[in-house]
């Protein structure tokens, strides 16, 4: 069993950990929007955004390696989407190559777009890692709910958080059961059929579990409305946090406009 993979380190203590999850959610969202809206050429702005996130990471007193490792996850996805841009973007040619029948050329502006996308994705994922490593998943859910996120979505996410590990365990058990009856490896093609069956079984089991969970909710008076206690309290520290970060983001944006 993997323990709290999603919100590892969230039970530690630091200035950032102690902040209200709503404040952190709003600031994270604002940070991502600001980063995404920054124009291509303003390298200085990217540097400043990085400085902001670096300060926050330092304040959170979490191992930097944790951030670096986790942030690598995003690279393959972004690369897959963006790797062809340098070849298609029009503009001044930086280099051209002959590949058998085709002549491909890479443009300067294309490369710039690629780097920009990478930088934006990396900065955004860093801020999200900071959020999930300094606020517990339940805290984030509570925050989302109080920020008027539709309750259905909050409930779906909370069920996901509760049952995703059970599902993983179930898959592992099914895999062990399969492997212990699978003599000598077998042909690859035949295995695909087995995997298909496993996915089907997993779906049916989850569906049936859903019915049982619903029965146990109904048995405790559930009538389709999710109710929760209000437990978060927004302090002066949180207001200060939002104010400081908000000012920082706005001034970077303004600075960008002027220069």
């Amino acid at each position: 069993m993997k323990h709290s993979f999603l919100d590892r380190y969230s039970d530690r203590d630091s200035v950032i950990h102690r902040l209200d999850p709503r404040g952190k959610l709003v600031v994270t969202l604002a940070f991502i929007v600001a980063v995404v809206l920054t124009p291509f050429s303003s390298w200085l702005a990217y540097g400043l955004y990085f400085a902001v996130i670096a300060v926050l990471i330092a304040l959170s007193r979490l191992p930097v390696s944790h951030f670096l490792k986790r942030s690598l996850v995003i690279i393959p996805f972004v690369l897959l989407m963006a790797v062809f841009i340098p070849f298609f973007k029009e503009g001044e040619v930086a280099g051209s190559y002959n590949l058998w029948l085709w002549q491909v050329s890479v443009t300067h502006s294309g490369l710039q777009v690629l780097w920009n996308i990478m930088a934006k994705a990396w900065l955004s994922i860093l801020s999200l890692i900071l959020l999930t490593s300094t606020a517990s998943f339940t805290g984030i859910l509570k925050g989302l709910e109080q920020l008027r996120m539709p309750k259905v979505i909050v409930m779906i996410m909370s069920f996901m958080y509760r049952y995703i590990f059970l599902l993983t365990d179930e898959v592992l058990r099914m895999k062990q059961a399969r492997d212990s009856r699978n003599f000598g490896g077998g042909r690859k093609l035949w295995q695909i059929g087995t995997v298909g069956n496993m996915i089907g079984t997993l779906f049916i089991r989850s569906y049936e579990r859903g019915e049982r969970v619903y029965a146990s909710m109904v048995a405790r008076g559930f009538d389709g409305h999710s109710r929760t206690l209000e437990r978060l309290c927004f302090s002066r520290r949180d207001a200060l946090f939002i104010a400081v970060l908000g000012t920082a983001l706005i001034s970077i944006g303004l600075f960008n406009l002027i220069s």
Binding site: F137, S158, R162, L166, R212, S216, A219
Partner: protein, 240 residues
């Protein structure tokens, strides 16, 4: 005469696929009793207990504390009948233990203070005080079972109905659970085919087989009747 908590008269129930699960059931549970509902797999035990709190309803007359169960009083019914399901992973669906134990009280419309009190009290009753912030996923099966019981105790039910409390537990976990159940001051119906647990906890035993009540009597008489138990698949027949 003691007060009747649940009264069932002429209850029959068939599932939509045509399988007849219950056939003319008559029984009464009195206040303060500890009743075991035993029977082989597929006897209709789980179907029967789903009728106790109105999740399933059919032609029969089920009265809870003298009142018939209908659409209007479902909420009241569910606060009075605490149903604990067999698999604690189905019962515990919230991210934290607190949220799960508080789920019933919040749905019942308790105030914030009442919810906190109910949760603390319920967790103390099952010996799990201080577990509020933990995630159910990180608990052992025995701990999960106890929390599952706390999730219905927090609604202060009149009757506690528990499906297979000892399944998947090792002997130590089972005996710990038995002591917890023994200490709870509520009327209990325990569905099980673990006769050791039944003997330790129940004064009265009802045997259910093929949707019918096959026997209903004092635990010591029924548990001593090896022939009756063997007939309903609850013990091996004597050899020779």
């Amino acid at each position: 005469m003691t007060e009747e908590i649940v009264t069932i008269k002429n209850l029959s129930f068939g599932y939509p696929d045509g399988q007849q699960a219950l056939n003319d059931i008559n029984l009464t549970i009195y206040r303060g009793e500890s009743v075991a509902l035993v029977g082989p797999n597929g006897a209709g035990k789980s179907t029967l207990i789903l009728h106790f709190n109105g999740v399933l309803r059919s032609n029969g007359h089920i009265r809870l504390l003298g009142k018939p169960i209908d659409d209007k009083n479902l909420k009241w019914v569910r606060s009075k009948v605490g149903l604990v399901f067999q698999n604690p992973d189905d019962q515990l669906f919230s991210p934290t233990v607190f949220d799960d134990v508080a789920f019933g009280p919040i749905n019942m419309g308790y105030s914030d203070d009442e919810v906190h009190q109910a949760v603390t009290k319920a967790l103390e009753m099952v010996g799990m005080a201080g577990f509020e912030k933990r995630s159910p996923h990180h608990l052992s099966i025995g701990e999960k079972k106890r929390i599952a019981i706390a999730t219905v105790l927090s609604m202060s039910p009149e009757i506690l109905v528990i499906d297979e409390p000892s399944s998947n537990l090792d002997p130590r976990g089972k005996w710990e659970l038995i002591w917890v159940l023994e200490s709870l001051p509520v009327t209990r119906v325990i569905v099980s085919h673990d006769l050791e647990l039944v003997e330790a906890l129940c004064q009265r035993v009802i045997i259910l087989d093929r949707g019918q009540v096959a026997a209903d009597g004092a635990a010591k008489d029924i548990l001593a009747d090896k022939e009756l138990l063997a007939k309903h698949g609850l013990a091996m027949a004597e050899q020779g």
